[in-house]
């Protein structure tokens, strides 16, 4: 197809083509940036906790009865609670801990260890022994907690810890972490690493989602206790219905709140899901609007040029020639629009990255976006171009 005359002819319809070019450029910028944001959200969502999320539930027991001021009583109740929970048919394992996966936070501290130059941050949770059965992440190196690890005096700090593989890698590298000592930021409360679990992820503010220290015993007191429970697949409903009566039977001077981890996870991702939906809607509607725009503008161009098309047909242009003429026009316009669009894409990405904490634009997204819009332009041009090809050559002799 000869490009020269098409280009020269296009100069006389500058406005129309400028409109399509701008539209395509902005559309490319929006689509690629929206997809980029969607991908960023999806990456966050695809992060695995490493736990049996679907079959976990969390119970918070908050006491108002005065007897809970007594620490020894609290401890007795916790043990009775755990026994009661484990007795419910369908319950696989239960542990008293304050760790609630996917709540978007938890407790953390600043730590030090010999051989690692800086202080580091990591999550920390106390737990009774059953936790690793509940989470479904066995201790793969070293040993699990035993009853001797829990200090008898509630005011003494614990001396052992089990950490996540990611934390071990970060601070000890490839060296054996077992037997190493981690202290708090001032070098107090030394704890010896006795075990490592392979899987751990709980989202946290400072990118410490994979770093955790577990300590044995006592994460409970007069302010209440909480339990993480793992159930057999499919048993969630029946277990939830039996929880409260069983715990009330242990001590009724408390209120209970039950959350399934699946719900908590849903809540954690609600914002992200909303973003994905909104962005997807914007992309779909925008691509549709742009296609309609190209269709509309090209249709007008065709009806405006009916006589010209007839003349070309009279001069020997085949239907294919006319079709190719409009497609070539569209190809030129789309290509210019896409080239401008690449600039706009990076410009918009820069504006968004500068303002917000979005990620950089990967080149392949831009390439895919260009291909998509190129096809979109083609599809939108075909109907009016076909209509143009059907213009009868006899139009040329129709008198004015």
């Amino acid at each position: 197809m000869p490009i020269g005359p098409i280009l020269r002819a296009m100069k006389h319809n500058r406005t129309r083509f400028a409109l399509i070019i701008l539209e395509i450029a902005i559309t490319l910028a929006i689509v690629t940036n929206c997809v980029n944001m969607i991908l960023a959200e999806r990456v966050k969502m695809q992060q695995k906790s490493g736990f049996d999320d679907e079959n976990l539930l969390f119970v918070i027991a908050t006491p108002f009865a005065p007897e809970f001021e007594e620490q020894t009583y609290v401890e007795k109740v916790v043990h009775a609670d755990l026994r009661a929970l484990q007795a419910i048919p369908g319950v696989k394992a239960a542990a008293a801990t304050q760790m609630l996966p996917w709540q978007g936070g938890g407790s953390s501290g600043t730590w030090k260890t010999e051989g690692y130059p800086e202080k580091f941050q990591a999550q920390i949770y106390g737990t009774t022994r059953g936790l690793f059965d509940v989470l479904g992440t066995p201790v793969t190196q070293g040993r699990a907690f035993t009853e001797h690890d829990t200090p008898t005096d509630p005011d003494t700090s614990t001396t052992v810890t089990i950490i996540s593989r990611a934390l071990a890698k970060k601070v000890f590298g490839d060296a054996n972490p077992i037997g190493r000592v981690i202290t708090n930021g001032e070098g107090d409360t030394p704890r010896t690493v006795i075990g490592v679990i392979d899987q751990f992820y709980n989202p946290y503010a400072w990118n410490i989602g994979e770093y955790v220290l577990f300590t044995p015993g006592r994460s409970f007191g007069s302010r209440g206790s909480s339990y993480l429970v793992r159930v057999e697949p499919g048993a969630m409903k029946s277990v939830v219905s039996q929880l409260e009566p069983r715990l009330v039977a242990v001590n009724g001077g408390r209120i209970f709140r039950t959350l399934t981890v699946a719900e908590v996870k849903d809540g954690f991702f609600a914002g992200g899901k909303l973003v994905i939906r909104a962005m997807t809607a914007v992309i779909v509607v925008l691509v549709f609007v742009t296609a309609l725009g190209i269709l509309g503008i090209t249709s007008l161009a065709v009806s405006e040029r009916t006589r010209q098309i007839g003349t070309r047909r009279a001069l020997g242009a085949t239907k294919g020639d006319i079709l190719r003429h409009f497609l070539a026009e569209n190809w030129i316009v789309t290509t210019i629009g896409l080239v401008l669009g690449v600039i706009a894409t990076y410009g918009l990405n820069y504006a968004l990255v500068a303002n917000l904490t979005d990620q950089k634009m990967p080149w392949y997204l831009v390439a895919i976006g260009m291909l998509l819009l190129w096809l979109n332009g083609l599809v939108a041009t075909v109907p009016p171009a076909l209509r143009a090809a059907r213009v009868a050559p006899a139009i040329a002799t129709r008198s004015v």
Binding site: R8, R307, Q308, R312, L315, G316, T318, K319, G320, A394
Partner: protein, 241 residues
Amino acid sequence: MLEMHNIRKIYRTVTIETHALEDFSLVVGAGEFVAVMGPSGSGKTTFLNVAGLLDTFDSGTYRLDGKDVSRLSDSEMSRIRNRAIGFVFQSFNLIPDLNVFDNVDVPLRYRGLGASDRKQRIERSLDMVGLSSRAKHLPSQLSGGQQQRVAIARVLAGDPKLILADEPTGNLDSLMAREIMDLLDRINAAGTTIVMVTHSPECAVRAQRQIHVLDGKVVDLDVPRISLASPAGAGIASTLR
């Protein structure tokens, strides 16, 4: 060159059928200059559309340059229009977005000629119509006569065997019209067959032969004066005046 026998063309809409051509027969020899005359609605334009393969017909036979062109596909018709036929329209039908050079280039492009060949043909034909200096102008910058000369250059560049002209002077004043007719004369003298539809008697007399069309048929006007006096010829008479 052009042989039409018993051509019939009917325009159909949902409610009415219009017989635009009915039993239309005409033979034009190679090298002839024929003027086709007739009142509005007589079927002149339809004849031109059919002759120029701009439109199909319902029955009859049509041989162009010895070849039967009665049942051709759209792209075969396009090919013949492009190579064998040249059109000169009343309203010039130049493409407003293209300059003079590119306008003359249009049919050559569809013929798929090489760049140097096209350039040579365009320059030669513009030279023949005396517009070499206007190659870069847009149609809107030219006078009507000049535009029609560009349209003729567009025909000449393609070296057609047959030129079909539709009221080529209809939109021009008499001085310009004479210029265009002189040009057509010269082209005909060089051997190209011309069939021209016209209202204008001054133009018609420049042709070697005049054909009259009425109600979709060629009427035999061997004795034109009688016909002019008869009531049936009233339409023609008024046209001639």
